[in-house]
Each structure stands twice: as C-alpha cells, then as structure tokens.
C-alpha cells in the first residue's frame, strides 16, 4: 500500500476530540511561474476536505488556492476515545485520498 498523504492525530479529552491533520500536497495556485522556462505552473490544489466521525459528517471544508502547501488543519468535535474518524480530500485534478483512524 502506498504511503498515505494524510497524517492525522485525534485525541479525546473531556468529551471533545481535537483532530490535527497534515496533508502532503503541493497546493499550486496556477499563478506561479517556473523560473527556468517562464511557463506557468498549472494549478493543483485541494478543493474539498471531508471528515466523518463514526460515519457522520462533522466537517466539510471548501478550500481555495490560498491554503498553504502541505496543508495543516485542526478542528474539534464531540466524541470519545476509540471512535473512528475518516478524513478525505480531493483536488482540482480529481485526485483524492482517504485515511481512517481511531481517536486516542
């Protein structure tokens, strides 16, 4: 199995799960130019990030090009240790990735 592009750590404390995730992705805006050739580097960025907690959607983000490369995201929701969380992203080229993990 290829190495996942997503790294997630979810921790529960007092009934609240704090999820921190890192996605490895270039997040090209389409405005940058290649310094050698002078050609524009085509846009390649994540448009949507979804998170499911025990099968129910807790967060769905719509992203523009202004999110930094290798995006970091963190958010909180009600939950407990042992719950499953599923994070997935999709970019403007139709690529996507999903990761499922357990809350610690």
């Amino acid at each position: 199995m290829a190495k996942s592009s997503i790294k997630v750590r979810a921790k529960a404390k007092n009934g609240i799960v704090t999820l921190k995730g890192l996605i490895s992705h270039p997040m090209e805006t389409g405005l940058r130019k290649d310094k050698k050739t002078g050609k524009a580097i085509p846009a390649n960025f994540i448009q949507a990030v979804d998170c499911e907690h025990n099968g129910a959607a807790v967060m769905n983000a719509e992203w523009g090009v202004a999110i930094s490369k290798n995006p970091y995201i963190s958010f909180k929701f009600a939950g407990k240790s042992g719950d499953t969380v599923k994070i997935s992203w999709s970019d403007n080229n139709g690529k996507s990735d999903t990761l499922e993990t357990k809350v610690k």
Partner: protein, 154 residues
C-alpha cells in the same frame, strides 16, 4: 454446481456494491460542487456573497482570530478561529488583499466546536476576516496581519 453459483453470486454482489459505492460517490460530489465563482471573486463583498449568499455580516466580539501580528513568510500564516457564538454552521476565512480573497469555508456538522485552525497564504499585509454563520445570521471579526514577504509570487 453449487460452488459455481456461489462464485457467480459473490461476483455479482461485488459488482453491485462497487456500482452502489461509486453511485453514492457521484451525488456526494455533486452536492459539494466546488464553488468556483466564489473562489474566483476578486473583491471581498462578492467573495462573501458567493460563499454565504449574503454579504451583510454583523461585527461580533465573540469571534476570536489567532494569527501573528507580523508574518515573516506570507506563504505560511497560521490562523486559528474560534467562537463562543452558539450553533455555528460554518466558518469562512477571507484574506482581504489576496488576488482572490476567499481562502476557505469550513462547514461544521452537528457536534462540532466552533474552532478551526489552518495555515494560509497571504499576498501582502492585510486584514484577515472571519465570518461565522450562526442561527441564520452572519457575524464577522477581523485582524490585521503584516506580511514582510508575500506568499503568492514565486
């Protein structure tokens, strides 16, 4: 014979499950259709309007934006938004002077706290605006971030 049936059946079910899951995926993607117009908007009011349907937001001190006063590198500006407003449905993040101001919109489901943290790119010194959707109304807050090196060029 029985084995053959079994194989045939499992294969058929497998195909059906595959079809169902891909079928399920398609409407999901349609539902969450990318809001191209809002993300392409060049000025703040039309970006807000495109993302949230209205650009009349009330200033609120219940929204907290945590971001550096001075960002040395505009390509990576950590921003955390939290709010004590109840029942926050979405948090929208805008960087006023970016070419396309709309940065991101976080739709929060039931049970989610009004809290998001991420890292954004900023072209130059400007205000970060956070808009929270709560109880059918929009609330906003802003914070200025000084950028020494822009994050939108090469």
């Amino acid at each position: 014979m029985q084995r053959r049936h079994f194989l045939k059946n499992t294969m058929a079910t497998g195909a059906a499950v595959l079809a169902a899951s891909s079928g399920l995926l398609v409407p999901g993607q349609v539902l969450a259709a990318y809001n191209q117009a809002a993300f392409d908007a060049k000025d703040v009011p039309s970006a807000i309007k495109g993302a949230l349907g209205s650009d009349s937001a009330e200033a609120s001190d219940k929204i907290k934006i945590k971001a550096p006063d001075i960002a040395e590198n505009g390509a990576v500006v950590p921003v955390t938004i939290s709010s004590t407003l109840g029942d926050v449905k979405s948090i929208t993040l805008i960087s006023e002077k970016n070419g396309t101001p709309l940065v991101a919109k976080f739709n929060l489901g039931a049970g989610s706290e009004a809290y998001v943290s991420t890292r954004i790119k900023m072209g130059k010194t400007s205000n970060i605006i956070a808009i929270c959707e709560s109880g059918g109304k929009l609330y906003k807050a802003h914070k200025e971030v000084k950028v020494t090196i822009g994050g939108c060029g090469g």
